[in-house]
């Protein structure tokens, strides 16, 4: 049984890749992921803005009140070593690389042009096998056009690609008005993979406290169908790899993703719910299913249910909605 697949130009032993999440903050957990069978790991994201805010916060509060009152000219010892930049993350990459044999894909969320370039270069130097661009960008201004939004993605990708040689994946939001065109442009600009989709935390309102706040809910299998559709549509239309992320919980979910055309299925909520050992269960389930259905390899089924290979391509298009309603009735 050949579960191997190719993602971002890397040959992976299977299509299961834990996605960027706090689970990869500990080296021991990354080791567990490898032991459980993960084919690669996407590390948690390095947020340029967070690094800068932390640096500003710490330097502000370490000095706050200093040189103001004769008895207390400072309030903190001056540490000789301070890691307020990306050093901690880079060190984590190095340690992860030492700890496991599977590829380590770093994840970066930048803010400034300089940040994207500097941090991606440093990530490459630290030994990452690939880089996932986690462009969390929610346009809220009415003055920003869809074209400008697309350009942000394209510019970042072009910038990063100019400075690193490791493969670069783009993690995307589903909110593009002409998604295949955007995907096409990114593919043409050199993306080594597209990761569908970034699952944004949606804020919730507290009507007692009259506040708004983040509300984290783990995904379920139903949520996989949004990326599933677009992977099925993109498969064969772009040359780069495709990763399915969001809603992968069961072996069947992985198989669906692959059949839609994904090269890998990224998992997170399922691991948070069930533990790292769930990777083994997924792999066992996939293998069993493939045995039962006499598939010999992942490559054999990849894209088999993509829009261009299914009997009813229009099922992926808008009419689908009508039919669903009919059948429901």
């Amino acid at each position: 049984m050949d579960l191997s697949t190719t993602y971002m130009g890397m040959r992976l032993k299977n299509p299961i890749v834990p996605s960027a999440s706090p689970l990869s903050e500990k080296i021991s957990t990354i080791r567990q992921m490898e032991d459980a069978g993960a084919a690669a790991v996407v590390l948690y994201s390095l947020f340029e803005e967070q690094i800068e805010q932390e640096a500003a916060y710490i330097s502000h509060y370490m000095e706050y009140g200093a040189e103001s009152y004769a008895e207390a000219l400072s309030y903190f010892p001056k540490p000789s070593e301070f890691r307020l930049g990306p050093e901690e993350y880079l060190e984590h990459i190095r340690k992860a690389k030492e700890a496991v044999d599977i590829p380590i894909i770093a994840s970066l969320n930048g803010v400034s042009d300089g940040g994207w370039i500097d941090y991606s270069t440093l990530i490459q130097q630290a030994g990452a096998d690939g880089l996932e661009i986690n462009l969390y960008f929610l346009p809220t201004s009415p003055d920003v056009t869809c074209g400008q939004v697309e350009h942000v993605y394209l510019d970042v990708l072009a910038n990063v690609k100019r400075h690193v040689s490791i493969p670069v994946a783009m993690k995307l939001s589903p909110y593009f008005s002409a998604f295949p065109h955007t995907a096409y442009l990114l593919d043409r600009a050199g993306a080594d993979a597209l990761v569908l989709f970034n699952r944004f935390y949606q804020p919730d309102l507290d009507i007692e406290e009259l506040t708004v706040g983040p509300h984290l809910v783990l995904s379920n299998s139903n949520e996989m169908r949004l990326p599933l559709r677009w992977i099925a549509i993109l498969y064969g239309r772009v040359g780069c790899s495709l990763a399915h992320t969001t809603g992968i919980h069961t072996p069947e979910d992985v198989l669906k993703a692959v059949m839609a055309g994904a090269d890998v299925a990224q998992v997170c909520s399922a691991l948070l719910k069930n533990g790292i050992g769930h990777i083994t269960s997924l792999l066992d389930g996939i293998t069993r299913w493939m045995e039962e259905h006499e598939y010999e390899s992942i490559d054999e089924m990849k894209g088999s249910l993509s829009q261009r290979n299914v009997a009813e391509p229009t099922a992926f298009e808008r009419a689908n909605y009508m039919k669903t309603l009919h059948s429901y009735r």
């Binding site: 710490i58 004769a70 207390a72 309030y75």
Partner: protein, 1181 residues
């Protein structure tokens, strides 16, 4: 020998540098101004820096200086090269061990930043009182006069002690030398090795205790041999001066700087000589050079080795022509025949065979009082008189004992070609830090000499800093403030209305003002006094809007780099481009560790500064319609007008002796006259949204937001903008309610806004209190506040003190303190004064609370309309519990005596009245008010009885029948560490005292050193790697007595529980202990969210709210009540909001994770323990 680096450092760093290189064990305890020496040593050891012999010195923080001295003694006895650093009261606490160490002929050096002793008042500033108190201990006393000498003498002392076996106290003037930044040559390891022969170190070790060659030391001796034993050491003392001189000679051969035990400077045929030691010697030296150049036959002797005093060397230093000597002492020994140096000079001259020399003694410079060339000149002039004044003072106007010399205040020896710059900044704006940076740049990157000295005020919020910087081609020998500046920068416009800073500008000087006004509009914003100075002195005037530049470059409110750039751009001290380049390099060095982003922001700010710096085209006449306002309003009391106002205005030096109270007694209620206007924004009340909970007033650290209820008719004559709304409570039906802000006293901390639970439903971002810019509100709100204060206070007997909302109606008798904006301590003290202030005596441990409580010019403790209020005193740091107990003992004794007298005279004064007084129930306000009325009646009756002495005694003691409350207040440094022994004893005494521990978990007042209250994992000074041990559970220890009321409170988490605890503690007739979580600037938090952090501390289970009331046990109930619930958030959600924890994450992430895990486990196990204790069944007892 390797080349010696040139460094710009202060005296403390210079001493610590040598001490750290030449010792193995360092036991320390923080005390101003010596604390930085210990901090440097700790930091270097934490960084793995080794001493001369390749090992990292062990630095240990002790619980007191007494403890440090004991540890030093022990380490010395077992053979370590050991040192400590201290000052003032700390040195006094070391004296017992110093006698031992000297008696045992033990080699060691203590480095002391000499400081005043607490007498009529505490003072953190410099003089020789502390050192002089040790002169009978048998220690050699070696004095440095400048930063360079501090480094040199630290080594000379170390080398000498090893040879002489006499311990050395190496001292230098606190602040003036310990904190002066100067350009000096740094000694190298080779220098130090050459000075410290290894065999002497081995000999030191060979004298140590060892079970391998046992002996005993520290015996008890009887009349038969003790005396002889004391005399055995004489040869060592006799040899010491010679050893020190030889060491100085060796040092000179090595380094090139020649010192003598007594260094003479001046005319070889001098007739008049000043003898002096410490930084003042530099001033005399400089003045002598000036006078001798003009042919005057004057000279001076710098005393280096004060003990052992060598008559021979002293006499040899004097020119044979000397006719008169003035011996200058920087201390005061009341009642003595003279101060120590004077007496030694008299003895030396007599024993030295020159009785013809006339000697006068003078006192100068106490508590860092300025000592200037004008004063030196006056001393020489006095010496020339046929009958010079003896035991004189100089630098003050003594109009009481007429000791003072008049001097020419205009005489100065500022050198041409020297840049003399004054910078007026606020503590928060980074002015001092930037200036220290500038000194480093100029000192280390140019051939110029540089000197920086910084003057801070005593406020912790809105503090003024004045930086005095000198740069020039010649060495700077001027350890006094700049009086004539050629560059003056005012970094905040608020100073324009506070100080006449341009009075110190010399003609043609540069004046730089940071202000929001452009070059074309600034002129009319200047007071007339400023305009006059600018025109008369033809000042060059520049403006910059530094806050605008800071905002544009993402620097927030930090203007330090911007103003520094301006200085370099217009002062001409360096070529502009070179200067800018150097500032940028300095920025990278300073902020590099904090990330390139911070560096880049500063660089951007530097570049943008030059585009926004404008020279003002000065008009040719004074046009302003306003001038500097009066310091205090005309309605202030006479004392405040005449004395306090002068201190506030920065003219305290001009006050004569007669203006100062003789015994340290000062009036309370004075903070109200010091309107500081430091808030940029103040809270504005929205009555429509307000739910009248009183929380805003409860948490306000400065009593600058208050609530009142009053009958509607009290509104008659209210200003048009005065706000009012019907009171919603059940009490006082039909009354009105107002929340009023004191606009000129508010610090703008926003604690009230953050705690306000009421939200505007239409716009939830708004609350019942919202911040708004102060300037446009100042005038109207000042009027409103005055009206508010005039509304009669509520009848205390009618107030339900058990509810926060009503308890807050009580008048605070602690107001407008200079504590940090958002201080976590002061709300507790304020609450104390609201509840019991009119009948409270407070014993206050030294620390933050004694500084904001009692540092001149003003005190926040005040009194009510009846003239009653807290009586407050500070004894020491270490004895506060005992001090408070003493107050209790007086009260107990006086009550007992008064009861005896009243019982005896009951028939005379009226039995009914006597019985009522003797059996009065004073458990509530009504009872106390009724008792006050009875006592008033008693006094009236006693006044009418022309009776025996015992009746007069009763009249005199009658007030004690009204219940008094003793509060012992202090921080955790006192309660957990230095004062713990006394605290424990007082708890065990069973006496009715109330102890309030303001627990900031760190020594806040001295700058964040670890205490035993510091939690596990928090970074503090002396715990740079995060404190490895958990916090001491003081509550648990106190509970173990069984008869102590104990409460742990956190106002921000549960104000109602805090209120309850204060009431219960006060009502308990026995010792009570309240441990109050006090968020602090030393936690590295946004103080606006201090109360939110308190809530998180409680929610995480870290800070368990509890009350232990022994009265409950007597009722068969469990005395321990838990007032908070089981932990509901992880500890990290609390601690990682604070820099004291997060900085460890950034410095040592693995250690941080490990300590966090342990600390989380602490939380769990502590909760488990408390929960079990609280569930014990007491019913069967």
């Amino acid at each position: 020998m390797s080349e010696r680096p040139i460094v710009t450092i202060d005296g403390n760093e210079a001493a610590a540098y040598v001490a750290h290189k030449t010792n193995e064990v360092i036991a320390i305890y923080p005390i101003t101004p010596s604390s930085p020496m210990g901090e440097w040593a700790d930091q270097w050891s934490a960084e793995g820096k080794t001493n001369l012999w390749g090992t990292v010195p062990l630095v240990v923080e002790m619980q007191s200086e007494g403890g440090a001295a004991g540890a030093v003694h022990g380490a010395l006895q077992t053979g370590s090269l050991t040192t400590t650093f201290t000052a003032s009261q700390g040195l006094l606490l070391m004296i017992p061990n110093m006698y031992k160490i000297a008696g045992e002929l033990t080699s060691t050096v203590f480095h002391v930043a000499a400081r005043s002793l607490a007498a009529q008042a505490l003072s953190i500033f410099g003089d020789h009182s502390d050192v002089m108190a040790t002169r009978s201990t048998g220690w050699a006393l070696l004095c440095s006069s400048s930063v360079q000498e501090v480094m040199d003498f630290a080594l000379i002392a170390q080398a000498s002690t090893l040879q002489a076996r006499v311990p050395f106290l190496h001292f230098f003037d606190g602040f003036r030398t310990s904190h002066e930044v100067a350009k000096i040559e740094q000694l190298t390891d080779d220098d130090m090795r050459a000075m410290l022969p290894y065999e002497l170190i081995l000999a030191h070790r060979a004298r140590a205790l060892s079970p391998d060659r046992p002996f005993i030391r520290g015996t008890a001796q009887n009349p038969d041999v003790y005396f002889q034993g004391r005399e055995t050491v004489n040869p060592f003392y006799a040899a010491t001066p010679g050893i020190v001189q030889k060491t100085m000679d060796k040092f000179a051969g090595l380094v090139g700087r020649q010192y003598h035990l007594f260094d003479y400077v001046g005319a070889p045929d001098a007739e008049r000589v000043i003898v002096i030691m410490g930084s003042g010697a530099e001033t005399v030296h400089h003045t002598v050079n000036y006078l001798t150049a003009r042919g005057e036959k004057v000279g001076m002797v710098k005393v280096r080795l004060f003990r052992p005093w060598s008559v021979e060397h002293f006499m040899a230093a004097l020119p044979p022509t000397v006719k008169a000597i003035a011996a200058m002492d920087r201390c005061k020994e009341p009642g003595a025949a003279g101060e120590p140096l004077y007496l030694d000079c008299v003895t030396a001259v007599m024993e030295g065979g020159r009785p013809d020399i006339r000697i006068i003694g003078g006192r100068y410079g106490l508590s860092s009082k300025e000592f200037t060339p004008g004063m030196v000149k006056a001393i020489f002039e006095e010496l020339a008189k046929p009958q010079p004044k003896n035991h004189f003072t100089v630098g003050i106007n003594d109009d009481v004992s007429h000791t003072s010399l008049a001097y020419d205040k205009g005489f100065n020896l500022e050198m041409p070609g020297t840049v003399r710059a004054l910078f007026y900044g606020l503590g928060a704006d980074g002015t001092v830090g930037a200036n220290k940076n500038s000194i480093k740049i100029i000192g280390e990157e140019t051939p110029f000499y540089a000197q920086g000295y910084f003057v801070y005020d005593s406020k912790k919020s809105g503090a003024t800093t004045v930086s005095h910087l000198r740069f020039g081609p010649a060495p700077i020998q001027q350890p006094y403030l700049i009086d004539r500046a050629n560059f003056i920068a005012v970094h905040q416009t608020v100073f324009l209305e506070r100080y006449d800073v341009l009075a110190k500008a010399e003609p043609g000087a540069v004046f730089l003002l940071n202000c929001p006004w452009g070059p074309d509009e600034v002129w009319d914003h200047l007071p007339r006094t400023y305009q006059r100075h600018i025109l008369e002195k033809k000042l060059k005037f520049y403006v910059i809007d530094a806050y605008d530049v800071a905002k544009k470059t993402g620097m927030g409110g930090r203007i330090n780099t911007i103003m520094q750039t301006c200085f370099f751009a217009i002062s001409g001290v360096l070529p502009r481009d070179e200067a800018i380049n150097e500032i940028k390099k300095a920025v990278e060095k300073t902020y590099g560790k904090r990330g390139m982003h911070v560096v880049q922001q500063n660089w951007d700010a530097i570049d943008l500064t030059l585009e926004h710096l404008y020279e003002v085209k000065v008009p040719d006449q004074i046009t302003s319609t306003f001038d500097l306002p009066p310091v205090v309003p005309p309605e202030a009391p006479e004392f405040v007008q005449k004395v306090t106002a002068e201190i506030i205005a920065g003219r305290g030096d001009e006050l004569p002796v007669s203006a100062i109270p003789v015994d340290g007694t000062w009036p309370s209620g004075t903070a109200q006259w010091e309107k500081r206007n430091i808030a940029l924004e103040i809270p504005v009340w929205d009555p429509d949204v307000c739910i009248q909970c009183g929380k805003c007033a409860m948490v306000c650290p400065h009593a600058a937001i208050r609530v009142k209820v009053y009958p509607p008719e009290a509104l008659a004559g209210a200003p048009a903008t005065f706000k009012s709304t019907p009171w919603k409570g059940k009490e006082f039906p039909g009354w009105m309610y107002t929340v009023q802000v004191a606009p000129e006293d508010c610090t703008g901390c926003t604690a009230c806004v953050q705690i306000c639970p009421a939200k505007n439903r239409r716009e939830p971002r708004l609350k019942a209190i919202n911040m708004a810019p102060q300037p446009p509100l100042r005038a109207t709100e000042r009027e409103n506040y005055a009206f508010f204060l005039d509304i009669p206070e509520v009848d205390r007997s009618q107030v339900n003190v058990r509810q926060v909302k009503t308890a807050q109606l009580l008048q605070p008798l602690f107001e407008y303190s200079g504590a940090c904006a958002g201080c976590g301590e002061t709300p507790y003290i304020k609450l104390l004064t609201q509840l019991f202030g009119d009948r409270t005596i407070i014993a206050n441990a030294t620390g933050c609370s004694s500084i904001y409580g009692g540092n001149l010019p003003t005190t926040p403790y005040t009194f009510n309309k009846e003239g009653r209020g807290p009586a407050w005193s500070n004894s020491l740091f270490e004895d506060n519990a005992e001090f408070g107990l003493g107050m209790r003992l007086t009260l107990d004794k006086q009550i007992e005596f008064a009861r005896e007298l009243l019982t005896a005279h009951a028939d005379l004064v009226g039995r009914d009245l006597a019985e009522a007084i003797l059996h009065a129930d004073q458990s509530d306000e009504a009872g106390i008010i009724a008792q006050r009325a009875r006592v008033a009646e008693l006094k009236k009756r006693l006044d009418s009885l022309n009776g025996a002495e015992s009746l007069r005694q009763l009249r005199n003691l009658a007030d004690v029948f009204v219940k008094k409350s003793i509060w012992i207040v202090g921080g955790d440094g006192w309660a957990y560490d230095i004062g713990y022994g006394g605290l424990d004893h007082v708890l065990a005494s069973g006496r009715n005292v109330n102890i309030l521990v303001l627990d900031t978990e760190v020594y806040s007042n001295t700058g964040g050193q670890m205490s035993k209250a510091t939690p596990r994992g928090a970074v503090a000074k002396f715990a740079a790697g995060g404190k490895p041990a958990p916090k001491k559970d003081l509550a648990m220890m106190a509970m173990s007595y069984g008869n102590v009321y104990v409460a742990r409170v956190a106002m921000g988490a549960n104000d109602q529980q805090t209120l309850r605890a204060f009431l219960e503690a006060e009502s308990y007739d026995g010792p009570s202990l309240i441990i109050a979580y006090s968020h602090c600037i030393a936690h590295g938090i946004d103080m606006a969210y201090g109360n939110e952090q308190q809530r998180r501390a409680v929610d995480s289970g870290y800070w368990i709210l509890m009350r232990y009331d022994p009265r409950l046990a007597a009722e068969g109930k469990n005395p321990l009540q838990l007032d908070s619930k089981a932990p509901k958030i992880p500890l990290k959600d609390y601690v990682y909001n604070e820099t004291r924890y997060t900085m460890l994450v950034k410095a040592k992430p693995e250690d941080a994770a490990h300590l966090l895990a342990q600390a989380q486990e602490d939380v769990k196990s502590r909760w488990h323990l408390y929960e079990q204790l609280a569930s014990l069944d007491y019913s069967g007892r």
